[in-house]
């Protein structure tokens, strides 16, 4: 056996397993979704193997006029999802940034404990945590009772089933995703650089803008992306805290697969989310490469 051939077989042995795994469990399902999104829904669920572009038409504007007029509702739900996911990223960032700074300055023992606290919610069921928020936010919940108790409002305020509730819930669920990469880059920041900046005449704000922010940008971008992606496709938080009023694209996809049993349309909606994520990743890669020069 030639050396090259043996090398090849060795490589295959090493990489073959993971590659096969990825092919079967990641690209396989994805491929099925891509194919399904171009098929016609079966009468009782499933698919008929007839090519159709109308699944995308229904979303993007060339619906089958025999059955319905074009309804921009899907695009507007998608738009809302983008907006809510972006707002979730922003609120998580605004909370995580100072928190990460503060924690990075603690003594080692306290620091480890604080990071443990940040990741603690991972150990409690998501559903339990979200229903706890329902108890807090509903008209007769703790928040409203507190506000009415101190006389800030006479009538209970509608917190539940609003954009606010969904952003709050998603921020609460995804904040560790933002916090951890951010913490990684903030902890690496050399305090001496902050002092050097002040020494050279910069105010605290100038130091933040010119030294701290650029130095922690990789953490901000990393955290933003891995928060944005699951927030965009999330359907549990909006279904518990948003109800029927604040649907997100994830809810829509879930409905198409589980209740409406229109798999091709569900697949097309899922492709919309996939595309948004891909665009985001490409932009990020471009930015990262640009940043190196």
């Amino acid at each position: 056996m030639s050396l090259a051939r043996r090398k090849f077989l060795q490589l295959l042995g090493l990489l073959g397993g993971p590659t096969l795994f990825l092919l079967v469990f990641f690209f396989g399902p994805l491929l099925i979704m891509v194919v399904y999104s171009f098929l016609t829904p079966g009468l009782y669920g499933g698919v008929d193997w007839i090519f159709s572009h109308l699944n995308y038409g229904r979303i993007l504007g060339w619906a089958d006029t025999r059955y319905e007029k074009f309804d921009p509702v899907f695009l507007s739900i998608f738009g809302r999802s983008l907006r809510l996911a972006a707002l979730t990223v922003i609120t998580s960032l605004l909370i995580s940034y100072p928190a990460a700074f503060w924690i990075s300055r603690m003594t080692p023992g306290r620091r480890d404990f604080a990071i443990f606290l940040v990741t603690l919610p991972f150990f409690v069921s998501l559903i339990v945590r979200l229903f706890a928020w329902v108890l807090i936010l509903r008209p007769t919940g703790f928040l409203n009772q507190g506000l009415m108790g101190v006389g800030l409002t006479a009538q209970p305020i509608e917190f539940l089933y609003t954009d606010f509730a969904v952003i709050l819930g998603m921020t609460y669920v995804f904040i560790p995703f933002m916090f951890l990469p951010l913490y990684g880059s903030i902890e690496k920041l050399d305090i001496a650089q902050i002092e050097a900046s002040a020494d050279l005449g910069a105010t605290r704000f100038q130091t933040f803008r010119k030294v701290v922010l650029p130095a922690t940008m990789p953490g901000i971008i990393g955290g933003a992306i891995i928060t944005f992606i699951p927030a965009l496709g999330n359907f549990i938080v909006p279904s518990v805290l948003g109800g029927a009023k604040v649907l997100m694209i994830g809810n829509l996809i879930e409905q198409q697969f589980l209740s409406a049993r229109n798999w091709p349309f569900g697949s097309a909606l899922a492709m919309l989310v996939m595309t948004a994520v891909l665009v985001l990743l490409v932009v990020q890669l471009r930015l990262a490469r640009h940043g190196e020069h």
């Binding site: 050279l200 005449g201 910069a202």
Partner: protein
């Protein structure tokens, strides 16, 4: 000449994690003339960095004042003080190019692009890094980073430059080269340097004056030669260079060593310590009155130019001497007699703290 920098009764104590307090500066006063190169020298933990940080504004004093060119800056925040610092580990902004690092103070001061470019070019030339402006700082060697840190601190034309062990990370050859360059840059710019080191050779070769610090206090502040030849107290004598310290008794006319030898000195009677530098001892007796010491050689070190030998004199205890022997090295176990001229000897008073 008016003092350029004046520190008056500076005190600073830190709270230790165990709950006690640690006095880092215990009443320090000093004056720096303009264009003077002052070195803070002292053992680890004696307060050198703390003193520097109170001048730059990163630590606030518990008591005392700091005056720069007649203006009290004690309460002024760091970013407003007309001093810049070269940090020990450089603290360069590693997300910026060399040129942006160097131009940072000017960028902050809102200077025009043209002015910044010109000044950055000038600074890079001064530190010998012309044409390196576009590099990223992570692509530089330690010595080059050191130069960028220096150029960055000088670009904003500070009235005073503070340097905290700026050369300690460099290897010996590079360090000596940088010592000379720093010194010539300081002369060229004519601004005051406050330089921290715990390398005494570095301090002796570079400084106009050296302040020897211990336990948060200035032990002595003087020109290097004065400090070396006429230390004011035992700490300075011991800390700076090799020294033989021999107790003497004074009777008002002369000083007596423990072995009975004496030399003339006009001082009130009492006790004192005689300082004999190793290089003051020689094999050949000098003309005129001298002191002599006989003993057995217990150890020898060869330094390239000289032999350093340790001598056991019995009654006077061990002595260290630097002797030049043309070729034949001294042998361990041999007995020698060494001589020192008996005039110009330096005595340290017992009472000097």
């Amino acid at each position: 000449m008016p003092a350029h920098l004046e520190i008056i009764g500076a005190r600073k104590a830190f709270r230790t994690p165990e709950g006690g307090t640690m006095t880092a500066l215990d009443g320090i006063s000093l004056k720096l003339a303009s264009a003077e190169f002052l070195t803070l020298l002292g053992p680890s933990g004696c307060g050198k960095t703390t003193l520097l940080r109170t001048i730059s504004g990163f630590e606030t004093l518990d008591d005392g004042d700091i005056v720069i060119d007649g203006v009290a800056v004690t309460q002024m925040p760091a970013h407003k003080r007309p001093v810049n610092t070269v940090f020990q580990r450089y603290a360069l902004f590693n997300h910026m190019s060399v040129a942006r690092n160097v131009g940072y103070a000017l960028e902050i001061a809102g200077k025009s692009k043209r002015e910044i470019t010109a000044r950055v070019g000038e600074m890079l030339e001064l530190v010998g890094l012309s044409g390196m402006g576009k590099r990223s700082v992570s692509q530089l060697s330690g010595g080059q980073q050191q130069r960028v840190a220096l150029a960055r601190a000088l670009a904003g034309k500070p009235k005073l430059l503070l340097l905290d062990e700026p050369l300690s990370a460099l290897d010996k050859n590079l360090r000596q080269k940088m010592q000379q360059e720093l010194k010539s840059i300081q002369r060229e710019l004519g601004i005051g340097f406050v330089f921290v080191t715990h390398d005494q050779e570095e301090a002796l070769t570079m400084s106009d004056r050296i302040a020897v610090l211990a336990h948060g206090r200035i032990q002595q502040i003087d020109a290097p030669s004065v400090l070396y030849q006429r230390p004011a107290n035992l700490f300075t004598a011991d800390f700076l260079g090799e020294s033989n310290l021999l107790p003497v008794t004074l009777d008002g006319m002369s000083a007596h060593l423990a072995d009975g030898q004496s030399f003339e000195v006009a001082r009130p009677s009492g006790k004192a310590t005689l300082l004999l530098r190793p290089e003051a001892l020689a094999v050949t007796p000098p003309a005129g009155p001298s002191l002599s010491f006989s003993g057995r050689i217990t150890q020898t070190y060869y330094s390239g130019k000289d032999h350093q030998i340790a001598l056991d004199t019995g009654q006077l205890g061990p002595l260290t001497a630097l002797i030049r022997t043309g070729g034949t090295p001294p042998e361990i176990g041999a007995t020698v007699t060494l001589h020192a001229p008996a005039h110009g000897l330096h005595l340290i008073d017992e009472t000097a703290a």
